[in-house]
Amino acid sequence: MCAQPTRDGPVLETEVLIVGGGVTGTGVMRDLALRGIHCLLIDRRDLNAGASGGNHGLLHSGGRYAATDPDTAAECRREADILKKVAPECIDACGGLFVAVEGDDAEFAARFPDYCDAAGIECAAITPAEARELEPCLSEKVFAAFTVQDATVDPFRITLENVNHARQLTQSIFLAHTALERFIIDGRTIRGAICRDTRTGEAMTVRARQVVNAAGAWAMAVARLAGCSGVNLLYSKGTLIISNARIGRRVINRLRPPGDGDILVPGGTVSLLGTTSQTLQNIEDSHPTVAEVDRLVAEGVAMVPQIAHTRFIRAFSGVRPLLLAAGANADGRKASRGFTLFDHESEGLANFATVAGGKLTTFRLMAEKTGDLVAQRLGNRQPCKTGTAPLPSGDALRWTEPGFAARYWVARRAPRDLILCECEMVPASAIDAIVENAPGAELQMSLNAIAVRSRVGKGSCQGAFCSLRVTSHLYERQVYDSRVGLRNTRDFVAQRFKGVAPVAWGEHLPQLELAEALHCALLGLDQLQDDDAHPASREVPAA
């Protein structure tokens, strides 16, 4: 695959260059690999570093958009059914409830079954008492309730499985911390792309026959690098908070037009309360704030009173890349959740495509449409197979599922397999599998990268202890040497801190104080200098 190095570094050749390692980009990669096509996927940071990692993992029944966006709602329903069949290991078919509480619009609640009916969404009315029996955490002020087929999906696992499957099928490659700098354009054709490894600072050239822009919130910027101005996105920041333990079995939705703090989604062993919506000008400016957390809690309490005294361990934000049609209302909540595939032919390019907008639930469909276009352009007549082909799992891919590591360790009865992350009970063997073979595994793999591929740092200590234990383990295994591991620890805990700071009250505050004492007072990580020849990676994973 490597041709002679040029002025712009080594040359990598592939059939399709995909920009953006989110669920869509990796979905396209797998879709194409299933048609026998080799892909090179690059991401400036890492897998799921944008909205694919910064969401609540809801596999929509469609109920959420039944009233406002029936087309998206119906699409969600169809796609959710497919994913439940092809990737059951990534999905918790927990079901969902829509509940209206005192003060909510009773007419809207009454019309809900009709909205669902119109979008073909299964929904059944139950009494408030029945709802509270299903979910004892619900408020006594619930006056209307409906069950829907909501489920949750592990977006990290599905991404890892996409990349891994593409690797198995066509030796397709994923490169993390590889930023696109410019395209080499020759008439109507993109001949290649100049990229840079943000970790080593080295440039490289990618030669590809087709280029797919699946950069999510950054898709507009990537399209502009190709001289295309037709992709217009609205950035909507959404903030969520994560509880220390799971609250309720099902997805609990507030039965009202979408608003802040109206959904509580189980994430395996935790729950996620979301979501705010705030239009952003600068997409890099997307940290969660205390004000957003306060709003989520205040709203969430109406549905589930115990939220008032629930320990939340982390806040995180994602940026929704919403398609902005010409003259559309610039309100993130009201913008379409649909997606668009741009072939850019009217903008003078014949081998460039951008897929933008959409939702986690519909990523497969987005990948299918993109794959169809790219395959046809390449003269490949293979049909899309992602609607039926099961998504294979693997040893290095299963550690993102909350609670899996703990159940695995207990069932395996191998006490010598030392647990490194005690909160999530991640054993050393999991870290070893990830460092050796997970998609994106590389020399001196960073703690942040390991965390994207596991539950390390995601428990109540938020990295206070596991950061040190995993680092020590990797030094012992000679994965790290010199100060690389220490800097990785620092970068990891700094990343964790951003999410902990906005929820630092009550039972979680002592945790933060303890972490600070460990990391700063004891280890002096805050004093560590970046003076090595190989600076530690700085990828910023989503929560």
Partner: protein, 429 residues
């Protein structure tokens, strides 16, 4: 005690049980994952479990695994985890709950049998001693002590004496297997002129029902004993040199909201008081050989109930008896002391190798002091530490306080020296 024939372990929702049973701010939700609990828990690593893991597994909804792990029978519910926890989280409460959810036939037989025995007769003895057995044993020993000489010609061990100040309970081990060991205790009462009585009902100290996790039989046991003390109108329920028997009544009265017209107290506190008041003029002059002693703080008497003031009294008595220079404390000790591994029913549970593995930490602590004797006012500590010494070839001996008190006062009979070594076998005779 459940008499149903259920064989399936009931699955508990540990996370919500923790919220219900533990104080706000000290529930499993408050865990910092710091591991101080696990680092200081002698049961850490047994059955792949430790206190922090127990908490985390509860938070991860691993209820089936927690409901079935045998670790709950190796945790002695000593509450050291709670003591060192910065958030004061008590793991032992849910261990007790988990024990209670096991079907009776799957629980360790030894614990269940002891509890069943206690429920059989009004004496509440775990060794199945009936009223007349107890009374006979007491009367025989009274006769034999009186025969030791004029000094004890008027010694008495009254039973069911209405209105006595002290209601003294009795661990079944002495009347059942080594009745002569009751003599030294009575000599002490005689020496200080204590106004005391035994009772023919509710006299036994031990309570294995508490260790089965079955709250109802724990309650039943304590009700019988509280009734017996109330009936005799005693002011103080004086607990013998035994740990869990104090805790089970002291805690049980509060837990079950029972009406007790008396104060529960520990014999060791009275030893200390009588020594301070000059009524028990012990000294260490007998210890001319510089024999070294250490003490084992019973978790149930110190950390779990009376606290460090109890540990102070234990040391005050020990130092008075053996001499300051001959007393060597273990580290850590007092409320931070490690459980020996004999508590929580572990001694009766039949899990010998696990019990030794647990007790190794205590054994190492003891041998580090190089003491010749371990003094401990607890029968479970006594048995476990002796057994650890045999198993790991420790070379130390374990003694009751009453033995040394009588030795120091020069009133210890020849047949009351079972736990003394050759160095002291003839001293003062």
């Amino acid at each position: 005690m459940s008499t149903t024939s259920e064989t399936v372990t009931r699955t508990i929702d540990f996370k919500s049980a923790a919220r219900d049973l533990l104080p706000a701010g000290a529930s499993y939700d408050a865990c910092l994952s710091c591991g101080l609990c696990s680092a200081g828990c002698p049961a850490s690593g047994l059955e792949g479990m430790d206190p922090r893991r127990f908490i985390r597994m509860a938070m991860l909804d691993m209820n089936e695994e927690l409901s079935t792990t045998a670790w709950i029978w190796t945790c002695t519910q000593c509450q050291r985890c709670k003591y060192v926890c910065p958030m004061s989280i008590d793991v032992s409460v849910l261990v007790g709950l988990a024990r209670g959810a096991w079907p009776t036939e799957k629980k360790p037989r030894g614990i269940v049998r002891s509890c069943e025995a206690q429920l059989r007769f009004p004496g509440t003895s775990a060794m199945g001693l009936q009223e007349e057995d107890f009374v006979d044993a007491v009367q025989e020993v009274v006769a034999s002590v009186r025969a030791q000489g004029d000094r004890f010609a008027r010694l008495d061990a009254p039973i069911d004496r209405q209105g006595a100040h002290f209601f003294v309970n009795q661990n079944s081990r002495e009347p059942a297997t080594e009745p002569e060991e009751m003599g030294p205790l009575w000599k002490i009462f005689d020496y200080v002129g204590a106004d005391w009585t035994y009772s023919s009902t509710g006299w036994a100290a031990e309570n294995f029902c508490m260790f089965t996790g079955d709250d109802q039989s724990w309650r039943k046991m304590i009700e019988q004993r509280v009734d017996a003390v109330n009936r005799l109108g005693c002011k103080v329920w004086l607990n013998t040199e035994c740990g869990h028997s104090f805790y089970t009544l002291w805690k049980g009265v509060e837990r079950f909201g029972l009406k007790a017209d008396f104060e529960p107290d520990s014999l060791v506190r009275y030893y200390a008081r009588w020594i301070r008041e000059g009524r028990l003029p012990v000294n260490a002059e007998w210890n001319t050989q510089g024999i070294k002693f250490t003490v084992q703080d019973p978790c149930q008497l110190v950390r779990k109930s009376l606290g460090d003031s109890m540990a102070d009294d234990i040391r005050f008595v020990a130092r008075a008896l053996v001499g300051d220079a001959n007393f060597i404390d273990m580290a850590p000790s007092r409320s931070a002391n490690y459980c020996c591994g004999g508590g929580g029913g572990f001694l009766q549970a039949g899990m010998k190798e696990l019990r030794y593995a647990y007790g190794k930490r205590k054994f190492d602590q003891i041998t580090t002091t190089r003491a010749d004797y371990v003094l401990t006012p607890c029968h479970n500590c006594h048995s476990q530490i002796e057994d650890l010494g045999r198993h790991f070839h420790g070379g130390y001996r374990v003694v009751h306080f009453w033995t040394l008190i009588c030795l120091s006062l020069g009133i210890l009979g020849e047949n009351e020296r079972k736990y003394l070594g050759p160095d002291l076998a003839r001293l003062g005779l």
